[in-house]
């Protein structure tokens, strides 16, 4: 033994005796842009000490398409095509605030029937988006089955959207001053404008029954699971103040206990005619965020069923000039996207296109909270928290 100590590796001995506590260096872990649970191409540069995260820096821009710039060289009707692609999970809901802002500037209003159709499709987009969240979130927590069921259920909704608009993801269905005649409605003549495809009402009713069933099932399969609760309850708590300061909106804000839903504050879609509840969480943790979205699906289905029953008749379009020119002015309109506050600030100089279009997307503000939220969390919790924010990269980067 003495021999080894005397003739052996002296630095080794001294090193071992000096540091009792092992000092470790943080490892830089690049999560994304290609990673299964970053919802596309978000990149998080995380400094991790073992499983523990010491800091996170999101890196954006892998999906940046410069829509605000592109909007400056497009005419107003062309921009609806662009904004469809911002949040592709709920394409229809993206069109609404832009159309609303433009109509406001032109001082026209869509007919009641068009408004109802818009409302129904918006709520369908919300259900479809929340289905994706429900499936994907369970997948991120580690349960593989819910996503298959959720996708199957969502397909029913997308089929309905397709039957009306002709597109599953990018409906491009709104026109300034109304909606366009539905895709499945056959040849349109001036005397016979069929707007919704035959059998749409009954199919919608059936689909909404299925949605309500699916919500029950999801509540059982995912929400009733002890492991899921253990993974999400008390994880990633966002306080009301923090959420508001960062402009976090939508179901995330409501999960933190703020009863704030832009649907109650818009005169643009006739939400005030229908009865529905706004689900609000208590703790602002991942479980609440999941649960609020689940309950919202139920409320959306109720709204759609009421809207179907009280669908007014009438034209789909108001009279608009052939070449749409928007008078000089500015308007900011925001509506409740499935992900949160979606707003367009349209600055018109009286031309064929806007002088400047500011697009306020919910996901951008929602994930700006990530560096604050993730500090000191464990790696599995990072995934749980990130998933619960339910962002779409197109919505973040625009």
């Amino acid at each position: 033994m003495d021999d080894i100590l005397n003739t052996g590796n002296v630095p080794y001995v001294s090193e071992a005796s000096v540091s009792v506590e092992i000092e470790t260096e943080d490892m830089t872990l690049n999560i994304g842009p290609q990673h299964p649970s970053t919802h596309g191409v978000l990149r998080l540069v995380a400094k991790v000490d073992g499983e523990k995260i010491s800091s996170v820096e999101p890196v954006l821009g892998y999906m940046h398409r410069g829509y605000e710039k592109l909007a400056e060289v497009r005419t107003y009707p062309q921009i609806t095509t662009l904004v469809n692609r911002i949040d592709w999970v709920s394409g229809f809901a993206n069109e609404i605030p832009f159309i609303a802002a433009t109509e406001k500037l032109m001082e026209i209003e869509a007919p009641e029937r068009a408004k109802h159709i818009r409302l129904i499709l918006t709520e369908m987009a919300r259900i479809a988006s929340h289905f994706v969240f429900n499936g994907a979130y369970a997948l991120e927590i580690g349960a593989l089955t819910p996503i298959f069921l959720a996708m199957e259920d969502r397909e029913r909704i997308l089929d309905l959207i397709e039957s009306v608009t002709g597109g599953r993801f990018h409906p491009n269905f709104n026109r300034i001053g109304g909606v366009k005649p539905a895709a499945g409605s056959g040849p349109t003549t001036k005397k016979n404008v069929q707007d919704l495809p035959a059998g749409f009402y009954q199919e919608t009713r059936d689909a909404m029954e299925k949605v309500l069933e699916a919500v029950e099932r999801m509540e059982d399969l995912v929400g009733g699971n002890e492991v899921f609760k253990a993974r999400t309850k008390g994880v990633g708590i966002i306080s009301k103040e923090l959420a508001e300061e960062y402009g976090v909106s939508g179901p995330i804000l409501r999960a933190s206990g703020v009863k704030f839903d832009l649907r109650t504050q818009t005169d643009f879609l006739p939400y005030d005619k229908f009865e529905y509840e706004i689900p609000v969480g208590e703790n602002g943790d991942c479980y609440d965020r999941w649960y609020v979205r689940l309950l919202e699906m139920r409320e959306s289905a109720k709204i759609i069923l009421q809207a179907i029953d009280s669908m007014p008749s009438g034209p789909l379009q108001t009279k608009v000039p052939k070449v749409i020119k928007v008078p000089k002015g500015r308007s900011y309109v925001r509506t409740e996207n499935p992900k949160g506050e979606m707003g367009y600030y349209v600055i018109s100089e009286g031309g064929l296109g806007p002088y400047r279009l500011k697009i306020r997307t919910p996901s951008f503000s929602n994930i700006s909270i990530l560096p604050v939220l993730l500090e000191g969390q464990l790696l599995p919790d990072l995934i749980a928290i990130m998933g619960s924010l339910d962002f779409v990269l197109g919505d973040v980067d625009r």
Partner: protein, 183 residues
């Protein structure tokens, strides 16, 4: 109703700030650059506008390389806008200020609203506006070695130069006074 139809709120805002506009249901306060942070503080504390929605800028310029120029000629400047709201009745206020284009600079709102961090980074990258006291004023979307500020009106869309848009096969009946009509 939408945004700013709450008469009581508009009334109280108008008494506090002199330059309040309300057009198309969009309530806007115009302030001087010096009052920028102070305004945010007042709105947050006195009017309970605690919800920070967004911040962005507008490049006012007569010579534009994309889109149409403003109808009446303007003095070139940046207009910076931020949007606050409160989460009970949904009152919304836009606050705007105008700054010079040369050495465009404005204090950062981070100390009042931490959420303005990313929005200011975006405005910095897209317009080249400096935000004082910003802890991490780096590029948001674009590569680190990217030069230029894409949202400036003087910034050209290269693809637009190569292939005029709207193209000749456009069906919607295109502008008679559009910017590019070479064919």
């Amino acid at each position: 109703m939408n945004l700013s139809s709450n008469a009581e709120f508009i009334e109280s805002i108008s008494t506090k700030f002199s330059s309040v506009e309300n057009e198309f249901d969009t309530l806007k306060i115009k302030v001087k650059p010096e009052e920028w942070v102070e305004t945010a503080k007042i709105l947050k504390e006195e009017f309970q506008l605690t919800y920070f929605s967004w911040l962005s800028a507008i490049d006012w310029e007569n010579e534009v390389s994309v889109g149409d120029p403003p109808k009446e000629s303007v003095s070139p400047h940046f207009e910076i806008v931020f949007c606050l709201s409160e989460s009970i009745e949904g009152n919304v206020v836009l606050v705007s200020t105008e700054i010079e284009k040369e050495d465009a600079m404005i204090p950062s709102l981070i100390e009042v609203f931490a959420g303005s961090n990313w929005h200011e980074r975006e405005a910095y990258e897209m317009f080249g506006i400096e935000f004082n006291n910003h802890p991490n004023l780096t590029k948001m979307y674009l590569p680190d070695d990217y030069e230029g500020n894409p949202m400036l009106k003087s910034f050209e869309l290269i693809s637009r130069e190569v292939k005029p848009w709207p193209g000749e096969v456009d069906v919607e009946g295109m502008p008679e006074n559009g910017s590019k009509e070479d064919n």
